[in-house]
Symmetry: C2
Subunit: 435 residues, 2 copies
């Protein structure tokens, strides 16, 4: 295939004409497909149906230590759930607090607590003139929504396949005490599917922030969410690395079983140092008497242990892998050689990140939508919804069935081509069709 930029204006106009005709055909299909959110598909949800059978009225709902899971209490979470989550999060069970059904909620509450009560005795952030967060971009829109909601100023930090720009991070946190945190999805990152390199993690653990209440918000959402058995990313465990670096209190690590069991009916957890846990417990005991222990027990009885969980994740991978591979092969087929876009090829997680020519992402997403395919809003992967280059688009292949995914991916590629052709022609001073 010839790169669009190397086509003559006449060639490209003809190409565009043909593409628009194809697009009209798609519009006639009355599609209603969604590649917007990282939602598990029905087949994935079916994997966990056995979870509905492990507790019954014949069961004893007691923990191993005799705690009756049906009654009030146990702020930290039951012992066996801490063990399971600890194995999943690669930390000591003593460093874990089990929460409710959403790690996002834990992150929100963590920021909210810092706003009203500070961090381990620091000035509450709501009393400071300025609070800033570093945001590796592209990143997760719901992270950015939390910091924006609390009026925290967000600073973009560019991502590479090794993780965020550590030179920039080291410099900024050392010189600016108003920087209180950084959002990280360190493994199979959202949306690129990158995993931080060993060096990146080591540099994180060795940060010397000017602010004593600076914390790394380490959202290890995809810790065991591999697509392949034999080709997995490995991430250095950050709590242990911080401890080795003499920086035990530097990190909050978040995770949940939302894409393991049922999203919304899962269990979430935070792992962090004893000092941080003590700080958190002071608040948590005011907020609640305890989280849902019956659901904790249900998870433990179903998965039994980390081995059971890993086996379970293999089945998820079997469903997701073909979807990721399909998207990749269609994009290759449609776009290779045209030089109008690039995309990532993750080995895990829930997303593929696509970069179009500059100033095309919004138009591509809008064009997809007009033909019935919903993508994550362009800009969503950046703080304040502003992608400075207007080029990043997050692709979420998990939810649609394969046959729908193929149609959606072809339409997406078509829209990429149309907007690229239009953009190049425009730049050459040619008038292009409005639609």
């Amino acid at each position: 295939m010839k790169a669009y930029k190397d086509c003559t204006t006449e060639e490209l106009s003809e190409i565009l004409h043909a593409l628009l005709a194809q697009y009209k055909e798609y519009q006639a299909k009355d599609l209603r497909l969604n590649m917007a959110r990282g939602k598990p598909c029905v087949e994935q949800l079916d994997l966990s149906m056995g979870m509905m059978d492990v507790l019954s009225s014949d069961c004893d709902l007691q923990c191993e230590d005799g705690t009756d899971c049906r009654n009030y209490g146990v702020l930290d979470g039951i012992k066996e759930a801490k063990e399971l989550m600890a194995d999943m999060m690669e930390v000591n069970p003593d460093n874990i607090l089990i929460y409710g059904n959403s790690s996002l909620n834990v992150m929100y509450d963590t920021i909210s607590r810092s706003m009203t009560h500070g961090v381990m005795g620091s000035t509450p952030w709501s009393q400071l003139d300025c609070v800033k967060f570093l945001c590796p971009v592209p990143g997760y829109d719901r992270h950015f929504a939390i910091t924006e909601y609390f009026g925290i100023e967000m600073i973009n930090v560019p991502m590479s396949a090794d993780g965020p720009d550590m030179d920039m991070i080291e410099r900024l946190v050392a010189e600016d005490a108003s920087i209180k945190g950084i959002w990280c999805v360190p493994k199979y990152s959202n949306p690129q599917g990158y995993s931080y390199s060993d060096l990146t993690v080591r540099r994180f653990a060795r940060l010397s922030p000017a602010a004593k209440d600076f914390r790394i918000y380490w959202d290890n959402a995809y810790t065991i969410h591999h697509l392949y058995d034999d080709d997995q990313d490995h991430l250095i465990e950050i709590l242990a690395e911080c401890k080795r670096a003499g920086n035990s209190d530097l990190v909050y690590k978040f995770a949940s079983t939302s894409k393991i069991s049922f999203p919304g009916s899962c269990i979430a957890a935070i792992a962090t140092s004893q000092n941080n846990l003590e700080d958190i417990r002071r608040q948590l005991q005011i907020q609640t008497i305890g989280h849902d222990k019956v659901n904790q027990l249900r998870h433990v009885r179903y998965f039994k242990d980390i081995h059971g969980m890993i086996e379970h994740m293999r089945h998820h991978a079997d469903i997701l892998r073909p979807k990721f591979e399909l998207i990749d092969s269609i994009l290759s087929e449609e776009l290779d050689g045209l030089e109008i876009g690039s995309w990532t090829k993750p080995r895990g997680g829930y997303f593929i990140s696509f970069d179009s020519l500059p100033d095309c992402a919004k138009a591509i997403v809008a064009r997809c939508k007009k033909a019935g395919v919903e993508m994550t809003g362009a800009g969503a992967t950046y703080p304040y919804g502003i992608d400075p280059k207007d080029s990043n688009i997050r692709i979420a292949p998990s939810y649609p069935p394969l046959r729908d995914l193929e149609i959606a991916a072809r339409l997406f590629a078509l829209c990429v081509k149309i907007e690229a052709a239009k953009s190049i022609l425009s730049a050459r001073g040619e008038s292009v069709p409005a639609k």
Copy 2:
């Protein structure tokens, strides 16, 4: 029985001597009983075991409207759960948001949001020099803990059998714009078991607070928690009453199924005006993608409707009623005529409130503890843990089996008598034994 105050010093000293001998016998029993918290007992928890059977791997986990409860989404809660909770809370389902597993958590989050973001556009409370709450006393320690945690100044408002002192409340909220809320447990109140009179509720609905962001925090924790079928308290529904009074936005109403199904594995809800709901949703959508819908569905499938729930509560009542009646009869038997204490006789809820002679409550609770019976800490029913008269003690009869409850109640009465006798003798200038 002769009132202690009418006994001669010699008579009372002899009585005390005999009481202390009895107390020694109790100490020898090595008791470990607990009347401290409003925990359901094992038999009550057993009532809801069928809840573990209503969902299984054969079940469709879809809502009536086709929503798959296993996946992300539905911020407000599923429609059928809203209907069930609405019937329980006596409001329109459109006025309800379903939350997670704890109404305490909802209340905490409500205050926290007001601290960081104000109420319907008002100045965030964290930016104000002074924020105050009215606290009917005696009241619920966990309410007071939330307001204390956020540095909110608490003002005691005396309770009577009709509810809190409305003259005082009307005057204070009208003249002081720093008063932003009031904690209410309007039905079978914690700890007295009083239900607000019709007039009290009407006056609440007609409050004219100086602060536009003043809200009534109406914790209707015991709305269907009657002890008797034929002798139930009735509470005027506050949302409707506020609406009629032209004060729709004045109240947040909280409830949960924590003492209906399983505490900690229940569902909680807030009911309030559309304006307030809109204000809450703006925040909630940042905090979470949605609460546990599978558990919402479990509740709906188990109880089916409000009739099922009410029938279920009859079984709770059958277990609790004998416990309340036992406490009352033992206290009557042991204390009637002595004029050293009074207690409430609730028709529902979880507590009995006891008032000793002034300056005796702490000593009574400590003495109970030394003999192995744990009571709610004296002072806990007051803000900052300070009962100005040191006389109120909350009795929680729900958890211990009847045979234990009898022992605990007798020991409690004994400790009341001992401390009363000591107090009266001390006041007469007599030296009393230290232990």
